[in-house]
């Protein structure tokens, strides 16, 4: 243990240098961080999400979390001027004891109930959701929720803290139920069904998982409601970057939209969806941030194609929704493509994203998805600002 303590000392010494070095692109999917972003959190009747968050330190950690609902006002209708996204935010607090993992199902939330029965072999009890020290009262999301979850590490008073003690994962389960719009079973393409009926094979399910995106905090965090991600000192950010910057580039290696699934015979194909949220968010004014994204896509022949996407607050975009041509297998002519995404120069915010690959297998009438974290490159000059309502910072 002494040796380990020694190591801690060395690390701490090394870290000083790093911190002095200022912000660097440290949005991470594999290190403990001070801000966790779950870009894709869904509970819409066909999908539900399990959130896992863990305190990786030996001291108690508090976090202030925000759900942002990007669902349409009338989710069953197409988007449009009269059917804008809600962009409604609700917040809650959690606290985790040393090294404590926790979880909740977003549709259920998690109540504080000391009477939760733990799992047990004898008598057999494996349906033990909520067993454990409850992290606080986590509210369930509304009936139709498609949005993001953001958790910010705070001190006991609620002031933002650069503890870098949080890590998280999100597991999305898709049920094979009847899609009320297409009247097809969600996981059995081409299989017609009656909305609300039971004619879809419930033994088919689909589970996908991704790591939460973490933003690492620096030691110059002033604990005020305005969180500065990257950038130099400004009026809003007198200390400069309190957290590392959002990345300048996201690099997505993906299948061309509609490309044949190489591992499966027949006419199986792969479709990709990107879920994107801006880095800048103002929970005080509730003004949804809009970000324009420039996308450069390269096929295996090194041929480049470009396109744009605009995301306000939150969006889940299939590649053919972004551009029907440039991502299409017929256009790219190769199975794989590399897309580099960056905020356009006119955009004042960076963004974060995760991907989801749907492998559609008409031969067996099955669709299965896999979520994927993408790579990043460079850092934004920033800063990107996350503004917490001032009355949510400080003593509760």
């Amino acid at each position: 243990m002494d040796m380990q303590r020694g190591r801690i000392g060395l690390m701490a010494a090394a870290l000083v240098g790093l911190v002095v070095g200022g912000a660097q692109a440290q949005v991470t999917t594999e290190k403990s961080a001070s801000i966790l972003v779950f870009p894709k959190v869904v509970s819409d009747g066909t999908r539900d999400t399990v959130i896992q968050i863990t305190n990786t330190s030996n001291s108690m950690v508090h976090a202030h979390c925000f759900y942002v609902n990007g669902a349409l006002t009338f989710p069953e209708l197409p988007a449009g001027p009269i059917n804008p996204p809600l962009w409604i935010e609700i917040d809650f607090d959690i606290w985790l004891t040393k090294q404590q993992p926790t979880h909740w199902v977003v549709s259920q939330g998690r109540l504080v109930n000391a009477a939760d029965a733990p799992c047990s072999n004898n008598p057999a009890n494996y349906s033990c959701n909520d067993a454990g020290i409850d992290p606080g009262r986590v509210p369930p999301v509304v009936e139709y929720f498609t949005g993001e979850l953001k958790c910010i590490e705070v001190d006991p008073s609620g002031a933002p803290l650069s503890g870098n003690h949080l890590k998280g994962e999100a597991t999305t389960t898709t049920f094979n139920v009847c899609n009320p719009i297409t009247e097809e079973c969600v996981l059995e393409p081409g299989t017609s069904c009656t909305p609300g009926g039971t004619d879809c094979d419930s033994s088919i399910q689909d589970v996908a998982k991704y790591n939460a995106l973490g933003v690492i905090g620096n030691e110059n965090n002033d604990g005020d409601p305005v969180l500065c991600l990257g950038g130099e000192p400004t009026e809003d950010c007198p200390n400069g970057a309190e957290y590392d910057a959002c990345p300048q580039f996201w690099i997505a290696n993906h299948f061309a939209q509609g490309a044949p699934e190489p591992a499966i015979d027949d006419d199986a194909e792969v479709n990709t969806t990107w879920t994107i949220v801006p880095c800048t968010q103002n929970f005080e004014t509730q003004n949804p941030e809009r970000v324009t994204i420039f996308i450069e896509t390269w096929n295996e022949f090194e041929q480049a194609f470009s396109s744009f996407a605009t995301v306000t607050c939150w969006d889940e975009l299939a590649l053919d929704e972004i551009n029907e041509v440039t991502f299409d297998y017929q256009t790219l002519g190769t199975t794989f493509a590399q897309s580099r995404l960056r905020p356009s120069s006119q955009t004042r915010s960076g963004f974060m994203m995760v991907g989801s690959e749907a492998h559609v297998y008409p031969g067996n009438n099955i669709t299965q998805t896999a979520d994927v974290n993408y790579h990043i490159e460079g850092e934004r000059s920033g800063p990107d600002l996350i503004t917490i309502p001032f009355d949510q910072v400080g003593p509760q």
Binding site: R7, E30, K31, V207, E302
Partner: protein, 393 residues
């Protein structure tokens, strides 16, 4: 039933540094940045003809993606690591000891193996490549629609930026069917000398299909990258990973895995839908010259949601592929990784390698109905004091 079909193929096989308020070390392993050394800890392939090992109709394969993020071409020197165990009596591939029982030869022992096969690929600027582990990549298909499994730029009929091409590239299929192993690719120059270019990204997509039961499931994770330290990579054949003389960033002290405890009921789905997790790990060190795989004693520190702590340990060499609840015992329900023992649905396991460093990915199996698979990269913490070494042939 599905988990049985899957599990039948499964090979039976420290306290956190509480540095409050200190940002983690930047120099570390990565799965979300371009790097100079990429490792795919999980490369699995098994054709439908593997009735002895897989249930009839089940086919498993891995789609490997490898890309160059830079505007210059890069050569990569790759090594397939075949970790298939073989029967001591018949020499056949085995994943369970009973597969070595043969009326004519009696029962042999299923002995772990390690064999490497290397190949080189030239990747042109910004080029994404992908292939099936079972088929590899060879030949050229120089016009759209490019045939899958062939290189796109032959340097004869077509060229990339600056006259780059995939000429001289060939990716063999994995050495055996079935295959359980890993892949490691290292950025090198035209002469095969390692270079400090952090330009490689990679993914692996595991596809499991069962024609008998008509189901399909896929999982995807990123390759694990080791960043080269600019100017530190020399031209010898020993790559120093971490430590005082590092050429590449070191492997972490701790791997942190958040997981459902095995056998826990998925809280989302109706009915009993047990979740279990397979952890796949490979060492950071490998001696391809002397054919000596890396090895480590792995210490597992397990926390449940009650903040209760258990731990166990297990030595591994070359590769570990195991259900969490088979790490400390063969009786899953008695394992500290099982929900019935740990008492909560989810847990955090901190994995501390003694010996060589480790890289890992996790497969999450939801087995209530048809098998549904989710894969994810584990988290990292801390730097190892001692370096790991990759020795090239």
């Amino acid at each position: 039933m599905r988990q049985v079909r899957w599990a039948s193929w499964v090979m039976g096989l420290a306290m956190a540094l509480g540095v409050c308020g200190v940002r983690p070390v930047a120099a570390d392993m990565t799965s979300d940045r371009a790097a100079a050394i990429l490792t795919w800890p999980s490369v699995i392939s098994a054709g439908v003809n593997q009735a002895d090992i897989l249930p009839t109709g089940v086919e498993i394969d891995t789609v490997i993606q490898l890309s160059n993020t830079s505007t210059d071409p890069v050569w990569v020197h790759c090594f397939y690591e075949n970790a298939n165990p073989h029967c001591s009596n018949t020499g056949e591939v085995c994943y369970a000891a009973e597969e070595c029982c043969n009326p004519s030869t009696g029962c042999g022992i299923c002995i772990p193996g390690w064999n490497e096969t290397d190949f080189r690929v030239q990747i042109t600027p910004r080029q994404p490549l992908g292939w099936l582990a079972s088929e590899g990549m060879s030949g050229y298909s120089t016009t759209p629609d490019k045939a899958f499994g062939k290189f796109p730029i032959d340097g004869v009929n077509n060229f990339g930026i600056g006259g780059s091409s995939n000429a001289g590239s060939r990716i063999p299929p994995v050495a055996e069917d079935p295959f359980l192993g890993a892949l490691r690719c290292i950025a090198v120059d035209q002469d095969g000398v390692p270079v400090d270019r952090n330009v490689l990204t990679g993914q692996a997509t595991l596809v499991v299909q069962d024609d008998e039961e008509d189901y399909l499931t896929v999982g995807k994770h990123n390759a694990v990258g080791l960043l080269a330290i600019e100017g530190a990579v020399n031209d010898d054949n020993t790559l120093v990973i971490g430590g005082p003389e590092a050429e590449y960033n070191g492997c972490p002290n701790y791997l942190i895995l958040n997981h459902f405890f095995d056998g826990a009921d998925d809280p989302v789905t109706e009915g009993f839908d047990p979740v279990s997790t397979i952890l796949e790990m490979v060492p950071c060190s490998d001696d391809y010259l002397r054919q000596v795989p890396g090895a480590a004693v792995v210490q597992y520190l397990v926390y449940n949601e009650f903040e209760q702590r258990f731990s166990t340990s297990r030595p591994m060499q070359c590769k570990q592929f195991s259900l969490l609840s088979n790490i400390d015992t063969t009786q899953n329900e008695r394992s500290i990784f099982s929900a019935g023992v740990s008492g909560t649905l989810t847990g955090q396991s901190r994995i501390n390698p003694i010996g060589n460093g480790l890289m890992a990915v996790a497969h999450e199996l939801h087995t209530g109905g048809d098998l549904s698979l989710a894969e994810f990269n584990v988290h990292y913490q801390g730097d190892r004091a001692n370096p790991d070494f990759i020795v090239l042939p």
